[in-house]
Amino acid sequence: MTNLLAKRQILQNAGYVYNFDREVYVNRKAKKVFSLEFVEDNSEDDLRTRIDEDPGGQAWRFYFNAEPSKAVQEELEEILG
């Protein structure tokens, strides 16, 4: 199994679903979004750490390589929420 497939499995096991229009993994319950680029560029351990992170409030958390702007966050929240 490739590294990327292993990461996908970690995300799936944690309840994340791939959104193919926005190319992100989303968990609506946890209110977290992982970009595909972030998943590709970070280790499996990093992913687990971020998945387990306490969201600390009602706001969505975006795990992107480059912090998305407020406008991008709002649009994604609207689409994914």
Partner: protein
């Protein structure tokens, strides 16, 4: 009047660029055909070089540009950051080649013709061996705004990409992101590997058969 969206502005840009895109495609295809003509004319009966050219469609261009952003989302606060001239494949030519032994010869001929163009070969992200296809982009005389792109691809790989595009992504461009999903990448990798092995076996058999037949004639 309601504010125009980034997509509206890009659609307007597309149709303003379209004459340039067509001119680039025409020049690119003509030069490629001319340069590989000596190779085409010398092909054996079973060998083929097929040239396909296409102008990227408007919605496909917009979708490509959007998908280049992380999270596949335009930043509405910075609409001016986006221009279709950043895309390298608005005008594209693909050369499908069988057998693969001609790839190098064609590559050399076209590299001489488009000597300032930049290589950006298509590789399997998880394999370090030869690229899946040779890809180049750059400007030609027809336009200084639009880049052209040409690809040299083994026949079966190129035909698989065409079928995949025609059957899935052309009718439903929003599904393009499915291809990047890791499990789909794994499946695609397996298909391309199988097609490569099939082509290799086929080429080896034909080569051996021709060699044996030529030996017979010379005796």
């Amino acid at each position: 009047m309601a504010n125009r969206t980034i997509e509206d502005r890009l659609r307007e840009e597309y149709f303003e660029l379209l004459p340039d895109i067509r001119r680039v495609l025409e020049e690119l295809e003509a030069r490629a055909r001319f340069k590989i003509m000596p190779i085409s004319l010398g092909l054996d009966q079973y060998e083929r070089i097929v040239i396909r050219s296409r102008v990227k469609e408007c919605e496909s261009a917009l979708d490509s540009l959007r998908r280049r952003q992380e999270g596949a989302t335009f930043d509405r606060e910075h609409p001016d950051e986006y221009t279709l001239t950043n895309l390298r494949d608005l005008a594209g030519v693909r050369l499908l080649v069988f057998p693969r032994s001609h790839l190098e010869q064609i590559d050399l001929a076209l590299r001489r013709e488009f000597s300032h163009w930049e290589a950006d070969h298509i590789r399997d992200s998880e394999a370090s061996d030869a690229p899946l296809a040779l890809k180049y982009h750059g400007y030609c005389g027809a336009s200084d705004r639009i880049r052209g792109e040409y690809q040299i691809v083994p026949m079966l790989t190129g035909l698989f990409w065409e079928v995949e595009h025609a059957a899935i992504y052309k009718p439903a461009p929003q599904l393009r992101g499915v291809a990047r999903e890791p499990a789909m990448q794994e499946r695609t990798r397996a298909v391309l590997k199988a097609l490569g092995a099939f082509e290799q076996e086929f080429e080896d058999l034909i080569r051996r058969s021709y060699a044996a037949s030529n030996e017979g004639k010379s005796e």
